[in-house]
Symmetry: C2
Subunit: 183 residues, 2 copies
Amino acid sequence: MDSATAREQALDAAEKLFYGRGIQSVGMDDIRGASGVSLKRLYQLFPAKEQLVEAYLERRDVRWRGRLASYVEREADPELRILAVFDWLQEWFGEADFRGCAWINSYGELGARSERVADQVRAHKRAFRDYLASLVAGAGRPDALTGPLFLLAEGSMVTAGITGSTRPAAEAREAARSLLAAR
Amino acid sequence: MDSATAREQALDAAEKLFYGRGIQSVGMDDIRGASGVSLKRLYQLFPAKEQLVEAYLERRDVRWRGRLASYVEREADPELRILAVFDWLQEWFGEADFRGCAWINSYGELGARSERVADQVRAHKRAFRDYLASLVAGAGRPDALTGPLFLLAEGSMVTAGITGSTRPAAEAREAARSLLAAR
DNA sequence: AGCAAGGGAGAACGTGCGTTCTCCACGTGG
DNA sequence: CCACGTGGAGAACGCACGTTCTCCCTTGCT
């Protein structure tokens, strides 16, 4: 097995376990067991657990925003694209392994301790917010709408994570529609 | 020192440390050092760390909702009471030791592992949501407003926690005002 | 064949921490 | 004055886990 595939398998296992059970409760040995990558190899690829965590968050960030963008871009109408964000959230919340927002959870777990994790969480949320801003601008709407839409999205993620329901996405979508209609 | 004051001192230290640094990174010995309550006494009062965590979350829940309610109730106008929630959030976010919502953070840290913690988080959020619902009802507004207002509040808590800014409260207040005006 | 390099399995090491135990000082009732 | 219970300080214990090390096998090259 070459380094590239070992790295991918390690990250696959890390993502599944870190996201599903939390970062601190997953040991390097769990990653080894789930990935089939030996400890020696793991430590060659990621010299410490923290770097595996960072790689996990980074790869998930790229994929998460990619999935969102490709869903939203299937919608042509710029106004509806904004609402499509909430439709996608609803799909995400409904996935069997959904356990809330990985970055919000990681921040709760490690934000107070690891500045690098905190930075990654801030970067991810800033990127998401910037993406929302681009959709708002694309619809020719005032930038002041971005903040509220972002807060609705964040609120729905955290609430869906805690309650396990997809309903917050629908509520947020409805509120977003109302905000868009008001101005 | 009698049991009651020892218990309070232990909980004071636990709250300060758990909230400030996260639960898992605070040891029982840290609690002993910060509270002046010996380990022996700590384990008499709370037979395991998990029970100290539960007591911490429970006491904080009572105090948090009490502070919110007493702030809101200073406002007489039922419509403005709804907005007062967001004013209070802004004050809270501005406190020097503010580090996000204790329950959201705890859920990220332990929600996947401890069903009791997860239950307490859900109970706290449900109570907060019910309180918002009572304010909406008190203003004679449709119950459908509760969900969006709750999501705005949750989004502002999580965002203020991550970014360290009070601005999300003002954005959420403005969005809430807009939603209230729309219907 | 012989051998160096790399990799796997898993033991070993060090540390942190939840929990319990030991030892001792102190106060109180006989 | 003495037995005794309470409580404090902190050592001790057990375990989990991050990280490293040992041992052995495979593989590819000469």
